[in-house]
Symmetry: C3
């Protein structure tokens, strides 16, 4: 589908920029920016493909790599400008979240994976790159902390699976879920919605991380 590919490229670009920005703020050099941009943009899909026993998707379409390099170049050349448009970036990122969710779920279903596995692969595709980015930057992955991010992917994957199972054509199911996941994510940003944490008040929780 042409429109899905467009969304996919937009999301890839946004993910790459988030990786390059993180690298720049961690005082990495130009090569570090490139690595974090690429890892963030293609990491989730790569983990999915490896687990499904398939060749990484970017080996047949290097545009994902070139978009990552473009995102790096944008950050390196226009850091102040790019930083100022962080709200716009969050919107692109939300589009990427929705698109990667649908692509991950769709690839898993094509490979004959059942519902539980489809949801896992959709979430892995959507959040894997960001998790690798944060681990390489020495941070605890932000997606594990306090955001409705992965939950949007999870709900989207569930919905996509049932739509396809009920016989809804992919040409309808895919864009519907992309839009809904993107909207849910934007609402979560707007209203600062988050999942609860356990409020642990024992000594171990207040101790600095060891």
């Amino acid at each position: 589908m042409l429109s899905l590919l467009l969304f996919d490229y937009l999301g890839t670009f946004a993910f790459a920029i988030s990786g390059a920005l993180k690298a720049a703020r961690k005082d990495m050099d130009l090569f570090g920016l490139v690595v974090l941009a690429i890892v963030t943009a293609i990491g989730g899909g790569t983990l999915r493909d490896v687990l499904l026993g398939q060749r990484p998707f970017w080996l047949t379409d290097f545009n994902y790599i070139y978009l990552s390099l473009l995102g790096t170049a944008a950050v390196a050349a226009l850091y102040r400008l790019v930083s100022r448009f962080e709200t716009l970036l969050l919107w692109f990122d939300a589009v990427g979240l929705g698109t990667f969710t649908v692509i991950g779920a769709s690839r898993a279903m094509e490979a004959g994976v059942a519902l539980t596995g489809t949801v896992l692969f959709a979430c892995l595709t959507a959040i894997g790159g960001g998790m690798l980015r944060d681990v390489l930057a020495g941070d605890v992955p932000v997606v594990l902390r306090r955001e409705i991010y992965a939950l949007a992917a999870l709900l989207g994957a569930l919905l996509y699976w049932f739509l396809r199972h009920w016989g809804v054509a992919d040409a309808l199911a895919a864009p519907t879920v992309v839009v809904l996941v993107t909207l849910l994510r934007l609402l979560a940003i707007q209203y600062r919605l988050g999942l609860p944490t356990l409020l642990i008040h024992d000594r171990r929780a207040t101790r600095p991380p060891d």
Copy 2:
């Protein structure tokens, strides 16, 4: 083997709880608990399967995922209670260590891997999940620091390989090694046995980690 599957599930449950506890103590949200529980429980076996060129084991038996979710739910609902039974959890964890060692060694031998590789795959199966858990939580993997944990897996894998090589039936070799690895681990906990470290007293060692 029915009993090995039972031990496998018990170990999976214990590993999942250790992941969810770690996530809770790191102040992660509910989604973070789920991710760390799943990664800890199935991470080692997944790395093994990917390196052997096979589909992840949990794709044909989602009970491993459901047990991880159950462990997360137990931690989320009964945090104080679960924390209080940490000795019991260490016992379950030791059972998991023994079982994962044998399963890892057995899968590697079935795939035609020689002794050295079999030991590597057994250790990877047994400690890979815990290492991923600690890295995602921003800690240096505890298994690399000061415990007879991986050593028990290593010795168990060696013993298992020789037993099978000497013609001992799997129905005898597998439970024997599970029990011995579990016991060795419990003894190490009881008597606080550990491997030595190099006592480095140069400046670099006393400098805080960079």
Copy 3:
């Protein structure tokens, strides 16, 4: 090629020692030294093989594992001595960088990967192990920060691809690129050459990493 295999073993040994040294300085136990030595020595090539859908290279030649254990033993037994020869180790490491670059590029080309992918796989082979080492030790990978290290691999991979494409025999192209990458790395060490970073002076950059 015999000479390439010799360089490969030399580089493996040097990478293993860098892993064991890092583990020792992080106060890990003997098992931690072994794990970091192995991961550093074979991590990059293993990631490459998994992404190319092939069995890890060390499954058909366990000498890579034995060399890692030898490197660990050297560090454990002769820590002070080994530390004193760090300049020599940097030379070995540079040889490893050159060799791993060529092997990574060559394996990718054999698998039918195009130029962009060949460069990616060469860099992954050369720097993947060191990145895994640093992540497991709780550090931000040094290669992302401020060194002409990956850049040498990148340029070497480009050169190797064009040499092969222009019909130069591997027996000539491979050693040429190994020597050039090694020299470039040694020059970078000698003259402290590095890639630029973005000099970010906003509040986020001066805040300690979160």
